[in-house]
Amino acid sequence: MSIVPISYCILLIIVSGTGIVRYRKLTMPFRVLTWSVPTILVYNILSPIFSARYKTNAPILQLECITDFTFYLTAYYFLFKNKLIKKTIVTSLFIAFVFFCINAVFFQPFLTKFPTYVYFPTQVLFAIFSLLLFKEMLMYPLKINIIKQSTFWYNTAMLFYATTMFFYFGLSNYFGDHNFHDLIIYYFWYFILFVFHILIGVSLLTDDKNIADKNAR
């Protein structure tokens, strides 16, 4: 295992540690987010093990896709005030889960394929919900500085992740078609993950239940 994935795992440990240490001070969406990080860490540790033992890490990636989607959308559910959007989130979760099962059985088998048919729509949903949450933040601005708002950091992380993933896949295909060295893509992938989890870490650091309650009154 090279230095980059190890560094990434260390970052995940730091971010989950931050969430766990501050767990009592966190609001519900960020408590959910806290548990997403060690889950990703576990998947990242299991992935090379599976690859080495079973010559494929597709099951890990399949599970990671659906659990990430569940965690992040659940966090969004608690962040939104709009009841219609909350209902949409619940419906999306249900539909995504059903589609995931159908996809895993019929289109992109669970044991052998990466679930791109599930992955792309989930990224689109992340981008849409992050933009909707930015809009809601503008409608109900809080008194505290935006840099100190955990919702801002989480939403920025999701928007960054969703949009750069599409860019990444586009680049990946282009590099593959033109037989370019895939080292750039490799580092770019980890760059996205690093930035995403650093932003998640900042959101866990800035979230505070007391400040949230005070502003809610």
Binding site: L138, P141, L142, K143, I146, T156, T163, T164, F167
Partner: protein
């Protein structure tokens, strides 16, 4: 070709990240503007609420004072008038007793007169009918007659009307200052100055009493002083209270006569 492709990709990547960063920065700026706008709106609402509350408090005070004025005029002075009448018709025979009765009748007359003047100074209808200058002149005469303090009234500039509401509030401020002077200052002289400039009106009330420091004013919670400031603010005036120990106290009320009294355009005094 390879280099060209890499260059294009680098440019695309840069543009992509610049786009995301630009969006985030734009959002932060927009959010900050929204926060400021919200804060301004909240402050305005709070100011309007405070204004409305003050108005309600002052209206209640005026109604109470008016009621007391009515009671004094209708009940107490009437009763004293009957007492005076009864004393007049009584036949005591004895010269010494008659003299005492006459003295008592004079004291009752004086009491009736004082009560009538007090009733007038409490009644807002009377004050607004006569105007600020006339009301102050009557009040100065009453104070001088009481012998408590020597009062002078000076009017400078060409007189113009400030409006009923402003006249009433300014008179109440004067009464508050007078009350403080008589209770706390031990002053011998009180000067009242009305300055009618074209774009500015000043009411200055100055005494030669003990004066006070800012600390001692705060210690006694300065309720009267706060009342002066809040009443002045209600009519869009500024109240400055200058005093130091041993140098008396000077209260200056400054008012722009052309400033709108209330934001409510429908209010009868909205243009003062």
């Amino acid at each position: 070709m390879h280099d060209e492709s890499i260059r294009v990709l680098a440019l695309l990547t840069t543009a992509f990240f610049a786009g995301i960063t630009g969006f985030i920065i734009y959002f932060v700026v927009l959010y900050r503007n929204r926060q400021l706008k919200n804060k301004q709106e909240q402050e305005q609402l709070q100011a309007e609420f405070r204004q409305e509350l003050l108005k309600a408090q002052i209206e209640m005070q005026e109604q109470t004072l008016n009621y007391i004025s009515g009671e004094i005029h209708d009940n107490i002075t009437q009763v004293l008038s009957f007492v005076k009448l009864n004393l007049k018709v009584a036949d005591y025979g004895n010269e010494v007793v008659k003299k005492k009765i006459e003295e008592s009748r004079e004291l009752i007359s004086q009491a009736i007169n004082d009560l009538r003047n007090l009733s007038k100074s409490l009644s807002f209808e009377h004050i607004t009918k006569l105007g600020l200058v006339k009301t102050l002149e009557i009040e100065v005469e009453r104070i001088n007659n009481s012998g408590l303090i020597q009062t002078n009234l000076l009017i400078q500039g060409e007189y113009y009307t400030l409006g009923e509401q402003r006249d009433l509030v300014l008179f109440r401020i004067f009464q508050e200052v007078l009350n403080n002077t008589l209770k706390h200052s031990g002053a011998k002289h009180l000067k009242i100055n009305l300055q009618y400039h074209p774009e500015l009106f000043n009411l200055t009330v100055q005494d030669d009493g003990l004066g006070f420091s800012a600390d001692s004013a705060a210690k006694y919670s300065g309720l009267g002083l706060n009342n002066i400031r809040t009443r002045a603010a209600l009519i869009g005036a500024a109240a400055v209270i200058e005093s130091s120990p041993g140098k008396g106290c000077c209260v200056i009320i400054t008012l722009n006569p052309f400033k709108r009294l209330y934001d409510d355009r429908n209010h009868s005094d909205s243009f003062g």
